[in-house]
Subunit: 315 residues, 2 copies
């Protein structure tokens, strides 16, 4: 089958055997997304060799349980052991032996086919088109914030970053009724927010020590610093991006102001599908370009342009 | 009156006028404690000029409300405006205009007399002796952890640091029934823990990625690093010490493991007094030495010895 292949920070098109794993479903990829993590993998942020990509919607072709065959599905990206301490304590996304689709020890979805355990699959409701379903994984990651932090309707919430993930976070946070403002840099980002009546705020307008909850979604030290200054005492900082390398910060202000910091990663798929089914969120406005898999290298290049929104791959 | 006086990182004995503030109670200090923050002030960690000290028990001598006169009291250390956004939102200890007893713009208790607003005072139950009541402020600070973090009886809790504050934290955490282990370095610290059947653990024995809650009470980068390694995914790190200057850390593991970090400072006085009244905690075991106020310089020197527990001053 055709696939993208990452090796030693070099991406190429490659013909590889169609995958097959005992006990797992074989899935034909219908549509896949390129995410910031994929771009970081190419830059060598994490070591990974194989087929990248973890955002997808597909159709089950083969399955140990035949009732799945022909179903349109999305899939959770952490394939877990079910037996370690994390799995047994209800934290499967933190499984100590997990493989992660297109990220850790498991080929991903920037290919014609992929495999996943049946336990990872979720049926896509008929009313959710492929163009929306392909966003299930990042939309779930956005919802993880509300899984971890109680956003009250009376909270002042500042979101820093309005890129691919930031826009989904903005759409989901807006549903809480909170007083949400979003720091966006690019005109297109602001336009998308305006389309959903979500209010932007410039960095200079962010009042210091005012915000109950700040979500940092830029992964940059300057974003972290702005978040720190914006938070009120006893406020909560949700970190929604990983940070390259190390950061040097003064810790005492966090203790003196009794700030809570919450790291946030993968989230729940079913609520994400439910919100799309009920049209409460619309991720399709994020789609910037679509490329056939054969033009995958160009697609990655396009996706890495500053301010670029979602680039999709069609195998 | 006799007092200690701190100026330009130099501590001296000084005769100063007896304090008087309109609307505040005049309190004769019966007993005062020397705390890590006092020692940091002398080292120039924060700028402060005046009388240091914030841990005390005293007797009200003069008061705008005469019913307080003759009462034995302890006092909250943050004197607040009652009008700023923090005060109006139930966070008086974070008042934007606060003065802090012996720490920020307010003379402290290492003197014969001090003053505080009536709103800061708490009556000491008759059954709580001065030697216990003098620990109300740090005991309240220990309880602030449970004010912020829900410690479940089934949690594995690791406390790093068993000094002055650490011992009080250990005593209060043990009351939750959680599986508590304490990293203590000095033999006397271990002995005190053993006296309350609280189990010590050596740094080498701390299993990585195992602990639900870690309380860091050393204020050292090595303590922070141990805490990081000990926490399980989605665990909670309570920071109970300020850290001098800046620390350089890798942030991504906190995001990937979805760790929650909570800064923790001043706590509630009434539960602290209540626990002492009911003999559920006994801070008096921490008393290492008592000095008359006139020997205050020697007292500070003694208090700054490594592993030293509580040094008290008698005006």
């Amino acid at each position: 089958m055709k696939s993208l292949w990452l090796e030693s920070q070099s991406l190429s098109l490659r013909d590889v055997p169609r995958p097959s794993k005992p006990g797992e479903a074989l899935i034909r990829v219908r549509l896949a997304g390129i995410c910031g993590t994929d771009l970081e993998l190419v830059r060598g942020y994490y070591p990974f060799t194989g087929i990248p990509g973890h955002e997808f919607v597909g159709e089950v072709i083969e399955s140990p349980d035949p009732s799945w065959i022909g179903q349109r599905v999305v899939g959770e990206i952490n394939a877990v052991c079910g037996e370690c301490e994390q799995c047994k304590n209800g934290r499967p996304t933190h499984c100590e032996k997990r493989t992660v689709l297109g990220i850790v020890n498991r080929d991903g979805v920037h290919a014609e086919y992929t495999t996943l355990p049946l336990a990872n699959l979720h049926l896509v409701p008929d009313s959710v088109p492929d163009e929306a379903a392909v966003f299930t994984e990042p939309l779930a990651a956005a919802l993880e914030i509300q899984q971890q932090v109680h956003i009250q309707p009376t909270d002042r919430v500042l979101l820093i970053g309005a890129g691919r993930l930031g826009q989904l976070i903005a759409q989901t946070l807006a549903l809480t009724g909170c007083d949400l403002r979003v720091v966006a840099r690019h005109p297109l980002q602001k336009q998308l927010l305006a389309g959903r009546r979500i209010k932007p705020i410039s960095e200079g307008e962010v009042q210091p020590r005012r915000w109950d909850v700040v979500v940092e979604a830029t992964g940059s030290p300057s974003g972290f610093d702005l978040a720190r200054r914006a938070l009120r005492p006893r406020g909560t900082l949700a970190l929604k991006s990983t940070y390259r390398g190390e950061m040097t910060i003064a810790w005492s202000p966090f203790v003196v102001d009794e700030i809570t910091i919450v790291g946030s990663r993968c989230g729940p798929f079913e609520p994400a599908l439910s919100l799309m089914e009920r049209k409460e969120v619309d991720p399709t406005v994020l789609i910037a370009k679509r490329f056939p898999l054969a033009a995958g290298l160009e697609a990655y290049e396009t996706a890495s342009q500053p301010g670029m929104l979602k680039v999709l791959l069609e195998p």
